[in-house]
């Protein structure tokens, strides 16, 4: 959390994260370019670099797309998500290097503007031999650029989380475009089935991981809370571990019901920062801490402690016969509601 914008709010975890990412990128580029030079000594350095940047960026994209569902399936992996945007920007830079090298190699120094050449040279969507796979790569690169350029919290704040999140869901469109780019480009000129199998494994991995995470989420959302008059019975107070929450889907909204000491409070499950699941957070020093990036909210007001200004909706709760009853009507973000008391 920060009350002012800085290029990067460095801390020890981010530095370690970035060091690992940069080491992995260097290792992959060295493996693909260096290994490629050893087994394929007639390949030119430009070819080796274009391949190395492409494969590295594509593999990093698989890692990026895997982190979300992996964290849904195992919350102990949340540290992988904490600095994911740096991983994303790194991936974009590597993909950009691939794009620049490819444009220079295949389209520059000719009789046309390289970008005109890129957009017009291949134009047959029917024949695989003339399929404009380059345009799919360029479109993906544009999406990745938008995401990298708006990755800073400045844009998150000014675009608002819903718009920002929607924009960044474009990574799945970019992934699809890149799959077409690879399948109709590199795999058409290099017919080694190993490469096609690897691509299929990658796609299957991403799809299956997301389906597994989606099924897990769906089990939560499909659960029907028990209605008592106008209140929702969300469960026994003993179900809620100390300083933790249970999450219930009430109407179309997920609500996180926290227990701390002998108090129970309910707030929206959606963090104002990046829509992180507050109900998977923990109360630390009297504040609910979002498990994604550490944004904090007071459980009784839904407001971040001063000087921070983020606020989430609050819900009234009361306890009867050891059961927690929730009023499903959300109060405006930041509205203080007395916690229910555990007798």
């Amino acid at each position: 959390m920060s009350v002012s914008y800085r290029a990067v709010g460095w801390n020890r975890q981010k530095k370690r994260y970035d060091a690992v990412v940069l080491a992995a990128v260097a290792l992959m580029i060295a493996t693909i370019a260096g290994g490629g030079a050893l087994v394929n000594p007639n390949a030119t350095i430009e070819t080796l670099l274009i391949r190395a940047f492409a494969v590295t960026a594509f593999l990093l994209l698989h890692v990026i797309l895997s982190i979300g569902p992996l964290c849904r399936l195992d919350r102990r992996l949340l540290p992988l998500l904490y600095n994911r945007r740096h991983l994303g920007v790194t991936m974009f830079v590597v993909a950009l290097a691939h794009g620049v090298f490819a444009i220079v190699q295949f389209h520059a120094f000719g009789d046309r503007n390289p970008f005109v050449s890129l957009l017009t040279t291949s134009s047959s969507f029917v024949a695989p031999s003339g399929f404009p796979f380059q345009i799919f790569g360029l479109a993906a690169l544009c999406i990745l650029f938008l995401m990298a350029a708006t990755s800073h919290d400045f844009w998150l704040h000014n675009l608002k989380p819903v718009v920002w999140k929607t924009l960044h869901m474009g990574v799945y469109v970019a992934y699809g475009l890149i799959v077409v780019h690879v399948a109709m480009g590199a795999l058409q000129s290099d017919r080694n089935p190993v490469l096609a199998v690897l691509l299929c494994i990658g796609v299957a991995w991403i799809v299956s991981l997301h389906l597994a995470a989606a099924f897990r989420e769906r089990r939560v959302d499909e659960a029907s809370p028990v209605m008592r008059a106008s209140l929702v019975d969300v469960g026994a107070v003993t179900e809620i571990p100390e300083s933790r929450a249970i999450v219930r889907c009430v109407g179309s909204e997920r609500v996180a019901i926290f227990r701390y000491g002998n108090c129970v409070s309910a707030i929206s499950n959606v963090c104002r920062h990046q829509n992180g699941p507050l109900g998977e957070g923990k109360i630390v020093n009297g504040c609910v801490v979002c498990p994604w990036h550490g944004y904090e909210y007071r459980p009784d007001t839904g407001a971040a402690p001063p000087p921070f200004t983020e606020k989430v909706a609050t819900f009234a709760v009361r306890i009867e016969d050891g059961r927690v009853l929730l009023d499903p009507h959300a109060h405006p973000p930041g509205t203080r509601l007395d916690p229910a008391r555990v007798s």
Partner: protein, 234 residues
């Protein structure tokens, strides 16, 4: 109703801006990162090996070579050199036509970078100059004797030996004496760049005059003129 109650086993809680992450989470993350790194390295290695093996080809980028020969414009620019064809290209993705357009077909000197695939050769043309018309006077000598097998290796006494040497296929040279007395050797070839030593053998050891296209390949002068262009002076 299914709750997302936290598992008792993972009550450790990770906060990114704290100095250290809880030990059990750190262990889990270390295992995951190691697994991801191994998967990435293996995949990268497999991809590097899986790419198609490429045949030998070479582009001597940045290394300039000078070649002289006969320029042909049609159907595509080539340099004919002793019966060998060198394809000519421009820089980047451009043909050599723009650079060579002003030059007539015939002897030229071209500087450029070599491009080779198998026994095929190409020059990426950086600069090209046409041979200049020159009239030279001198004596045709055989190079082997002149370089040192015999000394002296010119003039009437050596003439018959020179005839035999050229008739036998040795490289002819035209020994030209400049006005300042310095000697200069010029390699005679036909107007289309082919060897003409045997045709010049009867003229060896005698003063001749010839007009042709003179070009320099960076180390030697080469004179493009057919054998019939050589005229005895005495």
């Amino acid at each position: 109703m299914i709750a997302t109650t936290p598992d008792e086993r993972d009550d450790d809680f990770y906060i990114g801006y704290e100095e250290r992450m809880p030990a059990r989470i750190a262990t889990r993350v270390s295992i995951a990162v190691t697994a991801i790194a191994i998967a990435l390295a293996l995949t990268a290695g497999v991809v590097a090996i899986a790419f198609e093996r490429l045949p030998p080809a070479h582009f001597a980028y940045g290394v300039a070579t000078t070649a002289i020969g006969i320029l042909r414009h049609e159907p595509y620019p080539t340099l004919e050199q002793n019966g060998r064809r060198i394809w000519l290209a421009g820089r980047g993705k451009l043909g050599a036509q723009n650079i060579l357009r002003a030059l007539p077909e015939g002897p030229v000197m071209i500087t450029g970078s070599r491009v080779m695939r198998g026994d095929r050769e190409m020059l990426e043309v950086h600069a090209a100059t046409a041979g200049s018309t020159a009239t030279l006077r001198g004596e045709i000598v055989d190079s082997k004797c002149f370089f040192g097998v015999m000394n002296p290796a010119q003039g009437a006494v050596h003439r018959d030996c020179a005839v035999r040497c050229l008739s036998g296929g040795l490289t002819p040279m035209l020994l030209v004496r400049a006005t300042d007395g310095r000697e200069q050797l010029v390699v005679p070839v036909s107007s289309d760049g082919k060897p003409i030593g045997r045709k010049l053998s009867t003229l060896a050891g005698r003063a001749v005059e010839v007009t042709g296209q003179l070009a320099h390949d960076g180390s030697d002068y080469r004179l493009y003129a057919d054998a019939t262009a050589y005229r005895l002076l005495k």
